[in-house]
Amino acid sequence: MLKKKIAPYLYIIPGLLILLIFVYYPIFRNIEYSFLKWDLFSGTKKFVKFTNYLSLFRSDEFGVAFKNNILYIIISFIFQVGISVIFASILENMKYKKLSTLFRTTFFLPSLISLTIIGLLFTFIYKTDGLLNSILEVMHLGDFTKGWLGDEKTAIFSIIAVSQWKSTGYTMMLFIVAIQKIPTEINEAAKIDGATRLKTFLHITIPLIKDMIKISTIITISGGLLVFNEIFIMTNGGPYGSSEVLSTIMYKNAFVHGNIGYASAIANVILLLSFVFSALQFITKESDN
């Protein structure tokens, strides 16, 4: 009897320990570090209260990076939640099932390729004499050609576009699975009652896959907050800092300038933002119930 009751706790312990040591412990140490002026080269640490946070909020780079993260989140939400639900629904309603399998695979494939490779691939596409500009030339849209990643107005949007290309297929797959779980009787009943396709989509499909929409929203928002690889590979925050996000300025401050304390402060801001966004998720869930 006793054994049976202890057993579950014993099973939890290893996972819990790993979590404590590699996740929670660093988080708390990081909060401590963010109040220090810590020089990487000499290893000297000095307690400076909120100086790191104050200089972060006053800096120009924080404003740009924060704006870019928000842009990332909004655009990703539109594509990876909004448009991919529509795609999923269309593919599930196609007359020719084989064709829908083909499309599904085509959309899903990019999410299987490593981000590093995608980043390099798209630097070639976006080059001044790259694929995108060549296509524009062929279509007699030569006026629109430019160095996409080297222009401060287009750099961040070019990178966000790559992310959408990569991830929309992934969330679409999640929605397809959810849609397939909807009992066919419900759809048939709606059909008999004379519901149009649009009405079925709005009043049956969407409410029944609401949980999946929530999960995708969480994935998309946290992805937009933590984005790093694409930017690091394609522009490294350039040109002149116009495509920096919070994680790239954190990285640069920590490992290029050697300001560990300041970088820790940025990390905590990212952590706090993640908390706020996930809290919003929970609040909406509560109100639904």
Binding site: L17, D39, G43, D151, E152, H257
Partner: protein, 441 residues
Amino acid sequence: MKKILKGFSVIVTIMLVMGLLGACGKKTDTSQTSDTSESNTDTKDVASEPIEIEMFTRFADGASKDFFDKVAADYTSKNPNVKVVVTSADNENYKQEINVRLASNDAPDIYFAWSAVYAKNFVDGGRALDLTSYINDDKEWSDKIMTSQFGPYTFNNNIYGIPIIMDGKTFYYNKDIFNELGLEVPENWDEFMTVLDTLSKTDYIPISLGNIDDWATGHYITTLNQRVVPADVLQKDYNLDGDFSDAAYVEALEYLNQLVPYFTPEFNSVSYDTGINDFITGKAAIYYEQFNQVQYIEPAEFEWSWFDFPDIEGAKGDQNALTGAPQGFMVSAETKYPEECVAFLKYLTTPEVAGQMVKDTMMISTVDGAINETTANENLIKIADTIKQASSINVWLDNSTDSEVVSIYLSGIQAMVGGSKTPQEVMADVQKMVQTVKNSK
């Protein structure tokens, strides 16, 4: 019963956590004590089994990696009691990896270091061994290394690094294009502008430039600052004793702006590789590049040569200094085997080994006599002479001053040549950052 169980699980959890943390703490303790005991025995008697010294380099691929691996193996076979282990990380990653290793007290015994402020950071942090006495005690060895190259490793009159390769930035030009258009090598700025004007009327790109990483235009400003800004002002400002308020800085930026129409179109989106490729495929006539990259110019199928950055007449700076800092190795202040480390660096800078480096890698050795007819081609010998004749060495802007000032300066320059900032705005941002950095120190 439930409460007991709950209490039990909590206790087990806590015990396990404490145990793990305790184990972590203990491990560092033992390693520290074993360190001291080891170093004690080392100072008392020569270790019977081979000692291991680690050399961390930025030469992660190609001929240069092969060379350092080979030298380490050769050295070990000649000195069986010392085993040299070479580890490496490529250029960009090197800067971060060495920082992390130093911060986690896992310093390699010998490590690569760019000169000037880059090296100074290690010295100020107490991470680099003072090599002055070793250099003074063995004049026979150290006199063979070009004296001027020790300069950027000297801080407070002490030398902290052994320069291995030297460098310089120059305008490579396509002789075929110059002959075709009847152009002469420009001696001063006005002549340079005339040459560029002529080139811009043809299909050739006058100057090839890939500036997606902002240091490429930063190198132009390195040279322009030194030509235009009085040397003492420049020195004071780079040391952060000044405030970059001299009007000459703006002037230097304006000179760079004059070149903008002649660079590769959309150069802020063009990668470094494209910049070099446009030159060696004959699309561009002129290319500003380091001497140490000459192995990438070599494949060009046309006749090429190089000319110095043109003099700016009437400007207040030094017209003869050469832009280009040496690169070399430093010894960790925490190493257990300083003698052995220096001995290996001496081996690396003997004329024979340095000559082999020139032969294998085409890097320009700082060692006298390493570059000769048997190790290098005609071009490389001429390059070595050019560097020897320079009045002084002008360190890259990237390494010349505090990294945050550099960062804002370089991206400001990139914004200016891209047309979104004026020279005055760039300098205003730099001055603001200098103030911020000074305040935080």
